[in-house]
Symmetry: C2
Subunit: 178 residues, 2 copies
DNA sequence: GTTAGTGCAAACCTTTTGCAGCTCT
DNA sequence: AGAGCTGCAAAAGGTTTGCACTAAC
């Protein structure tokens, strides 16, 4: 699937591919990232400073309705906005690290298998599927362990300090009592 | 897993299980539906008219952070609010009909398989996974076909009417021309 | 020349925050 | 007493809508 396919699909529906929509489609296609409405708007403004935020929302809605983009939430890691993926790639799951926010994409047949199973199990006609997985990437697993170790260390030191201060108090009382 | 497990988990974290929270937990547990904050609030109001909407949001946030409920979007079929599922059942996918809004739950190993594959593929530690599938339930597939047939029929009739009116015009012109 | 699309401002809906008072322990 | 929790009001964040003007077919 290509950008031209998307544009063709729009024209077929009597939707006009205006200058603004062209800009937004290009950005969605090029930018490797997962953009939300605001991010897309910021990039679009660089190409056309007059382009309005509302146009971005309207275009995204249009593309979503036409099944040309997928709407993601990325586990609400950054907030409650929606992110968008053109459907130019194969179906994939999004894997979000809950510590650093990195997003990986997982392709592979377990996804197709799941889809097929749901279709046969319910006699359901699947139109779109979305899998989002939250957890910790290999890098952050290590960092979390270090953080936990450091926290435990601080606790031990705090406990030791408390003990010292208690015994100091005892000594001080003993002195006052003479 | 049971409601008591959830309550225990909260207490262990130094979280108080107050009257309000008890009400909300009961409702989440009992109601078979997928409730959103507003729906939960409406039900809670019946048991305690003083209970505030904000308390609902705060409790849901707490439960989410503790990993005691899953947050769903149900493909934004009804809007952008979030829905909540206690994690008392086995992991499952949500299957949403885009015509009637019915939500089915799919259990079964393709889900576990997908999770395992992602863990091994990325060395990722999965904490929570969410699969939402949109499409048409078997019932609505039939209805959609009927709707399409009816639309085609109307088109044919409209075309026929247009032809009639054109030939009527021709006849009228002929009459006027005498 | 019609129909669709745009920009602007204002509204909307869901969710969060600040704060004073209340409640468990 | 002290930490945690609640209600209220107000704000925030993201998204949609009404309307007059403009651009594409």
């Amino acid at each position: 699937m290509s950008l031209e396919t998307i544009q063709g699909s729009l024209k077929k529906r009597g939707v006009r591919v205006t200058r603004q929509r062209q800009i937004l489609l290009d950005l969605l296609d090029q930018s490797g990232q997962h953009l939300d409405a605001e991010g897309l708007f910021q990039l679009a403004k660089e190409r056309d400073p007059k382009l309005n935020r509302v146009t971005v929302y309207r275009t995204l809605k249009l593309l979503k309705q036409g099944g040309l983009v997928d709407e993601l939430d990325l586990m609400h890691f950054t907030g409650d906005q929606h992110f968008y993926d053109t459907r130019l790639k194969q179906e994939h799951a999004h894997v979000i690290c809950l510590r650093c926010g990195k997003v990986e994409e997982f392709f592979g047949e377990p996804l197709q298998q799941l889809r097929k199973r749901i279709e046969t199990h319910f006699g359901f006609q699947v139109v779109l599927a979305r899998t989002e997985v939250g957890g910790f990437c290999s890098h952050c697993q290590v960092l979390r362990q270090q953080e936990r170790d450091a926290a435990r260390q601080r606790q031990i030191e705090a406990a030791a300090a408390a003990t010292n201060s208690r015994s100091n108090n005892v000594r001080a009382r003993a002195r006052r009592a003479g």
